[in-house]
C-alpha cells in the first residue's frame, strides 16, 4: 500500500495548554497504534479526548470494561485494524463488541485529528441511543459532544466536536444520499449485520463499491452469529478473491441443554403456559424467558400464567414460590419495558421457596435486549413476520415458524449467567425438517419504493445488477419503479426528476413526500404536515385490555366521520390545544409519548419543507380544508384505493382486485364507495388500515395516468369509474356551452 501514516496525517498537535510530552496521545500514529499505548492512555489521569481529568466513575467503569472478552483481544484487533481495510467480526452478544470496538477504533484511527468521524450503525433507534449514552459514560464525555447519536428525526451530535457517532443504519443510508462517498467518515462500523435489516443490506452493497473508490475508508462488519463466512466472501475485494479477514471474539456463554417434545403440540400457547408452570414447580431457581408472537397473545399468556401460578402457590406453599410475569413487546412504553430488569420476587416467607421471574416476550428479546438471570427458555417456535408481496401489494403480518438460526439464538439466551435449559415445543424431527436455515433478510420481505428512490438519488443507475448480498425479487423492484414513475419521481427512462430529488430528501415514504409537496396547492400544507407526522410515529391510541370500552368511546369522540387521516389531524390539534393539561393524553386514552414524538417529527419535517420553499398554508373554512386535505391525499396515495362492491362492507382494491375489509380500528361511520387507505395488511383477515373517503372525480383528475380508462382492467370498478367520467364530460360540455374545445379532454389536468 502506498499509504504512509507519517505523511498522510501528522501526529496529534498538542493543545495550547499542555506540552506534547504530557499529551495522553503523544506519539500515537493514526492507524498504527499498539495496545500498550492505548492502555496507557486509558489508565492515565487525563482524558485524551477532552483534556479533562478522568472522573472517579470513569475508573470504576474501566475496571468493568477490562473484564469484557473483547478487551482481552485488543492487541489482535488493533493489529488487524492497522493492516486491513475491511474486517468481518463475529462476537456473541455479551462480548462487549458494540461498546468497545468503536472505542478501540477511535484510539487507533484518531478521527478527531483529521476532522472525520467514526460511525457505528445500529438497526434500532433505541439501541443507538442507549449504546451512545453508555459509551459516552465509558469515555467520560458528555453525550452529544465527542460521542453522539443520530436517528431519524433526532440528531444528538455537535458538528466539529463529535467524532464517534452511533446511528441507525437508515440514517447512514440517508446521509449517503447527499454524500455518496461518505467523505465525513474515516471508519464505518456496521453492527448487528446478522439481523440483515434492509438498510444494512443496502449499505453493505454501497460500502463494497465505496471501498474501491476510497482506499482510506476502513470498514468493519460486526455480526453476532456464526454465518460470517457469507460476509467474508461478499467482502472479498482483493484480486485473488480471498475472503475478508475474520476477527472472532468468544462470548461469555454457558452450555444450554435443549429439550424437545415427543409430539407436535396442538396449541402452542397452551403448551407454553404448561411448560412455564412445570419449570416453576420442578426446576431450580432461575428466571424464565418465554417467546410468543404478539401483544395480545403475550398479555393473555401473562394473565393465565399468573392465575395458575397463584393457584399452585396457594395449594402448595411449602414448595412453590411466588412468580411474577412481565410482558415485553416493542409498543410497550419504556418505563414498562424497564420492568424486565427487576429482580425476581423474594420468597413469601423467610426461608420459603424462592420466587421466580417470567419474561414473556416477542422476538425482541432474541437478539436486541439482554436480560440477565435467564436460565430457562421456552420456545414455541413462532414469531410474527412482516412479509411484503408485490403481486397483490400486501404486507402480511402472520405468525410463522422461526428459522433454525433464530431457534439457536433463543436457546443461547438461557446460558448468559449459568448453564441453562431450553424447552422447544416441537419435535427434534420437525426442528430438522420444518424450519428454514436462516430467517429471510428484510430486503426479501419489504416494499422497496423508499430504498429505490434513495438509491437512484445516490446515483446507483443499475438497480438490476446492483451487488446485493441477497437480491430482492424482481417483481418487488418492478413495483417500486412503477410507483415512483406514477408519482413522477422517476421519468420513463428511470431518471430522477426534480420532484423526485426533493421527495428523496424527505425521510418519508414517497407517497407521503409527494402528498406533502403538493399540499400548498390545496391550501392545506399545515394540516397535511401534521397528518404525515402522525402517520410517521407509532400508534397513538391506547387500548388497555380492561378498559376497551372506555378507550373506544374516547376514540369515537375524536373521530372525524370523513376519514381516519382527518381524525389524526383532529387528535393532534386537540393535543396541542390541551398541552397545559398534563393528563389530557392519558384521560383520552392517547399515548403521550407518541404525540410528543409526532410534534418533534412535525418540527423536523417543517425544516425540510422550508429548505425547499414549500409554503405552510391553511384555510379557515373547515369544509374546504377537509376537502383539500383529501384531494392532496389522492395525489400521493392514488395507488392505494379500494372500491366498495357487494354488500357487507366488502371492498376491492383497485387493479389488484383483492377483497378486503375495513380494519376494526377504522372510524368511518358509513361505507363510502371509494376510499384511500394507508396500508393493506394481511393479519387474520385482509384489512385496509387508516382509511379516508375520497371521490372518484378526484382520482380521475389528479391521477389520470393511473386511472387511464383505456388501460384499466375490466370489472365493476372500471364501470363505476366510467360512469363518473361520462358524467364529468357531460358536465364539462354543459359548462363549456357546447364549445367543442371543452369536449376533448375535460378531465385531464395532470398535476405533477
Amino acid at each position: 500500500m502506498t499509504y504512509n501514516p507519517y505523511t498522510s496525517a501528522p501526529p496529534v498537535k498538542s493543545a495550547s495548554s499542555s506540552t506534547s510530552a504530557t499529551d495522553p496521545l503523544f506519539g500515537f500514529l493514526p492507524r498504527n497504534v499498539n495496545v500498550k499505548q492505548v492502555l496507557k492512555a486509558m489508565d492515565g489521569d487525563v482524558n485524551p479526548f477532552t483534556r479533562q481529568p478522568h472522573s472517579e466513575q470513569y475508573k470504576k467503569i474501566l475496571q468493568i470494561r477490562k473484564k469484557l472478552p473483547v478487551f482481552a483481544q485488543m492487541e489482535d484487533f488493533l493489529k488487524m485494524f492497522s493492516e486491513n481495510q475491511i474486517i468481518v467480526m463475529v462476537g456473541e452478544t455479551g462480548s462487549g463488541k458494540t461498546t468497545q470496538i468503536p472505542q478501540f477504533v477511535c484510539y487507533s484511527d484518531l478521527p478527531h485529528t483529521k476532522r472525520k468521524l467514526v460511525a457505528c450503525t445500529q438497526p434500532r433507534r433505541v439501541a443507538a441511543m442507549s449504546v451512545a449514552k453508555r459509551v459516552a459514560d465509558e469515555m467520560d464525555v458528555q453525550l452529544g459532544k465527542q460521542v453522539g447519536y443520530s436517528i431519524r428525526f433526532e440528531d444528538m451530535t455537535e458538528p466539529g466536536t463529535t467524532f464517534l457517532k452511533y446511528m441507525t443504519d437508515g440514517m447512514l443510508l440517508r446521509e449517503a444520499m447527499n454524500d455518496p462517498n461518505l467523505e465525513r467518515y474515516s471508519t464505518i462500523i456496521l453492527d448487528e449485520a446478522h439481523e440483515r435489516t434492509l438498510a444494512t443490506d443496502i449499505l453493505m452493497g454501497l460500502l463494497k463499491s465505496l471501498a474501491k473508490r476510497r482506499p482510506d475508508l476502513k470498514i468493519i462488519i460486526m455480526s453476532a452469529t456464526l454465518d460470517a463466512l457469507k460476509f467474508q466472501k461478499y467482502f472479498s475485494i482483493t484480486e485473488n478473491g480471498e475472503p475478508a479477514p475474520l476477527f472472532k471474539v468468544p462470548g461469555r456463554t454457558h452450555p444450554v441443554e435443549v429439550f424437545y417434545t415427543q409430539d407436535p403440540e396442538p396449541d402452542y400457547v397452551e403448551a407454553a403456559i404448561r411448560t412455564v408452570l412445570m419449570i416453576h414447580r420442578a426446576e431450580d431457581p432461575g428466571d424464565i424467558l418465554l417467546f410468543l408472537t404478539g401483544e395480545e397473545e403475550i398479555e393473555d399468556a401473562c394473565r393465565k400464567i399468573k392465575l395458575e401460578a397463584d393457584d399452585l402457590m396457594n395449594q402448595d406453599p411449602e414448595s412453590v414460590g411466588p412468580l411474577v410475569c412481565i410482558p415485553l413487546y416493542s409498543s410497550l412504553p419504556p418505563q414498562q419495558q424497564q420492568r424486565i430488569f427487576d429482580p425476581a420476587p423474594p420468597p413469601r416467607v423467610p426461608e420459603g421457596p424462592p420466587g421466580r421471574k417470567v419474561v414473556v416476550s416477542t422476538n425482541i428479546a432474541e437478539t436486541s435486549l439482554t436480560i440477565d438471570g435467564i436460565v430457562y427458555v421456552v420456545d414455541p417456535g413462532f414469531s410474527k413476520q412482516r412479509v411484503y408481496n408485490p403481486r397483490i401489494r400486501v404486507d402480511s403480518l402472520l405468525v410463522s415458524p422461526i428459522s433454525k438460526a433464530s431457534a439457536q439464538q433463543r436457546a443461547g439466551r438461557a446460558g448468559r449467567t449459568r448453564p441453562g435449559k431450553c424447552f422447544r415445543l416441537y419435535t427434534e424431527k420437525d426442528f430438522m425438517t420444518e424450519l428454514e436455515e436462516q430467517t429471510h433478510p428484510e430486503i426479501l420481505r419489504s416494499n422497496l419504493a423508499n430504498v429505490v428512490l434513495e438509491l437512484v438519488k445516490l446515483g446507483v443507475k443499475d438497480l438490476v445488477r446492483f451487488d446485493y448480498v441477497d437480491a430482492p425479487a424482481p417483481e418487488t423492484l418492478m413495483r417500486a419503479l412503477e410507483l415512483l414513475n406514477f408519482l413522477a419521481a422517476l421519468d420513463d427512462d428511470g431518471q430522477l426528476t426534480a420532484l423526485g430529488s426533493i421527495m428523496a430528501d424527505f425521510p418519508l415514504d414517497p407517497q407521503m413526500a409527494k402528498m406533502l409537496i403538493v399540499s400548498p396547492e390545496f391550501r392545506c400544507s399545515n394540516e397535511v404536515l401534521t397528518i404525515v407526522a402522525m402517520l410517521s410515529v407509532p400508534n397513538v391510541w391506547i387500548r388497555p385490555p380492561n378498559q376497551r370500552k372506555e378507550a373506544d368511546a374516547a376514540k369515537a369522540m375524536m373521530s372525524v366521520p370523513d376519514g381516519d387521516h382527518l381524525t389524526l389531524l383532529n387528535v393532534f390539534n386537540n393535543y396541542m390545544q390541551n398541552k397545559h393539561d398534563r393528563n389530557w393524553a392519558w384521560n383520552n386514552y392517547l399515548s403521550q409519548r407518541a404525540l410528543a414524538q409526532a410534534e418533534n417529527v412535525r418540527a423536523q419535517l417543517q425544516h425540510t419543507m422550508e429548505r425547499f420553499d414549500i409554503d405552510l398554508v391553511s384555510t379557515d373554512d373547515q369544509r374546504k380544508l377537509y376537502t383539500g386535505i383529501r384531494q392532496a391525499l389522492c395525489c400521493g396515495f392514488f395507488m392505494q384505493v379500494a372500491h366498495k362492491e357487494g354488500e357487507k362492507g366488502a371492498y376491492i382494491t383497485v387493479k389488484d382486485n383483492q377483497v378486503v375489509a375495513l380494519h376494526p380500528s377504522c372510524g368511518l361511520d358509513t361505507q363510502p364507495e371509494w376510499v384511500i387507505y394507508h396500508e393493506f395488511v394481511l393479519t387474520t383477515k385482509p384489512y385496509i388500515r387508516t382509511v379516508t373517503e375520497v371521490k372518484a372525480e378526484w382520482l380521475l383528475e389528479f391521477a389520470p395516468q393511473y386511472f387511464d380508462m383505456s388501460a384499466f382492467p375490466d370489472g365493476e370498478t372500471k364501470r363505476a369509474l366510467l360512469r363518473v367520467q361520462n358524467k364529468r364530460s357531460r358536465k364539462a360540455i354543459e359548462g363549456a356551452n357546447g364549445n367543442s374545445k371543452g369536449i376533448e379532454r375535460p378531465s385531464k389536468k395532470a398535476r405533477k
Binding site: 457469507k230 417434545t261 409430539d263 407436535p264 403440540e265 396442538p266 396449541d267 402452542y268 403448551a271 414455541p380 417456535g381 413462532f382 412479509v387 408481496n389 403481486r391 397483490i392 402480511s396 402472520l398 405468525v399 410463522s400 415458524p401 416441537y426 424431527k429 420437525d430 420444518e434 424450519l435 436455515e437 426479501l444 420481505r445 443499475d462 438497480l463 438490476v464 445488477r465 451487488d467 446485493y468 441477497d470 437480491a471 430482492p472 425479487a473 424482481p474 417483481e475 423492484l477 418492478m478 413495483r479 419503479l481 412503477e482 414513475n485 420513463d492 427512462d493 428511470g494 357487494g646 382486485n657 383483492q658 377483497v659 378486503v660 375489509a661 394481511l682 383477515k685 385482509p686 388501460a711
Partner: protein, 361 residues
Amino acid sequence: MSDEEDYLSDKFLQELTAPAAPRTYAEKRKEAQRLAALKNEQNRRKSRKQLELEAREEGLRKSLFERAKEDEASGQQNKALAMMMKMGFKPGESLGVKHDTDSPPSPSAPASAEATPTGDGASTPEAGASASARPSTQHRAEPLPLSEWAGRKGIGLGKRPASPGASERLAKMARMAADQKEQTDHSAFRDRARQEYEERRAQGRLGPAQRTCVTLDEKEGREFNILWLNPDNPATFPEGLLDALEDSELVAALQRRQTGDTIEGRLRARMQADALQPLTSALDDDSSSAAEKPELHKTPYSQEDIEEATQFLRLSAQDRLELVLDYLRQKYAYCFWCGTQYDNQDDLDANCPGPDEDAHD
C-alpha cells in the same frame, strides 16, 4: 296438503291456477338444477372468507411479468418493466451481480444430486451441502410466498396438506372401530349371531360395491383408493402395499384370511411372501427389520395412505361397506341400492329414496 283441508279452501284454487299438467322427469330435473344453481350462488355470496381467499390466490398466482405480457398484447407497455429491461433485466432472471464463473456449476449441482438419489450414504450429505451452499450465490427470482399458519397449532402440525376428506374419513373410521369394540364386548349371543349374519351379508355386498367404485374411480383417472381394498381378495391390493403396512398382526391376519385357514394355504402364502421379499430378509429377523426400512421409503404410498389403509382394513365389513357407499354417493352421486348414477347431488337427493338398503324395498 293434509286431508283435513276444507275443500273450499283457497289452496285448491291456487293449485288449479298452476299448470296442472303432470311434471315430467326432465322438468323436475330442470327445476332441481335451477334450485341447485341458486343455492350455489347464495353460498358463494355468503362466504366472504372464500371470496377473499380466491381473490388472493388469483392475485398471487400470476407474476407481474405475465401480467405485463398480457397488457402488452392489448397494446399497453409496462413502463417499470421497460426500465428494468433497459438495465439489462430479462423476465425470469433474478437480480444482483451475475457471477459468470459461478453460474455454470450451480445449475449442474442439482443435476448431479439428482443423478445419484439412491447412491450410497456418503453422497447424500455432500448433495445436501451443495444444496445449502447454493442459495448464497443464487438469488431469488420469485417473491417469498405468504405463509399462512392455522391458529395456534404447533410446529409439525401446520403444513402437511392432507388429501381432502382423508382426515375426516380417518376420524370416522376411528369412531367406527371404537363402536365395534364396544358392541362385541357387551352383546348377547343372539345379537352376536345376528351380527355375524349381517357381517357376512355385508361382505357379499362389498365386492360389487368396490368394483363399482374401482370403475368410477378409474374413469376419473384415479390410480389408487383405499376403499378398493378387500381383505378377501388379494387382487385388490396393489403391489407393495401389503409390505408397506406396518401392522404385522393385521398383515398376517389378512394373509391367513386370503388363503383360507388350511395348512397348505398358509404354506402357499408363506412361499408367496418369501418370493416377494428381498433375499436378505428371508432368514433372520434382525436384518429383515433393517432391510425393510429403506423398502418402506420406496413405496409410492404416503404415510397417510398407509395409516388410512390399516385403519380401513381393521374395520368390520359393514363399516367398510358403509364407507364405500358413502364415498360413491358423495363423489359420484351414485346409489348402490338404486344402481343408478345421478347427475348431481341434488338429483340424487331428489330421486333416491335414501342411503340405506331398507329405504329401497
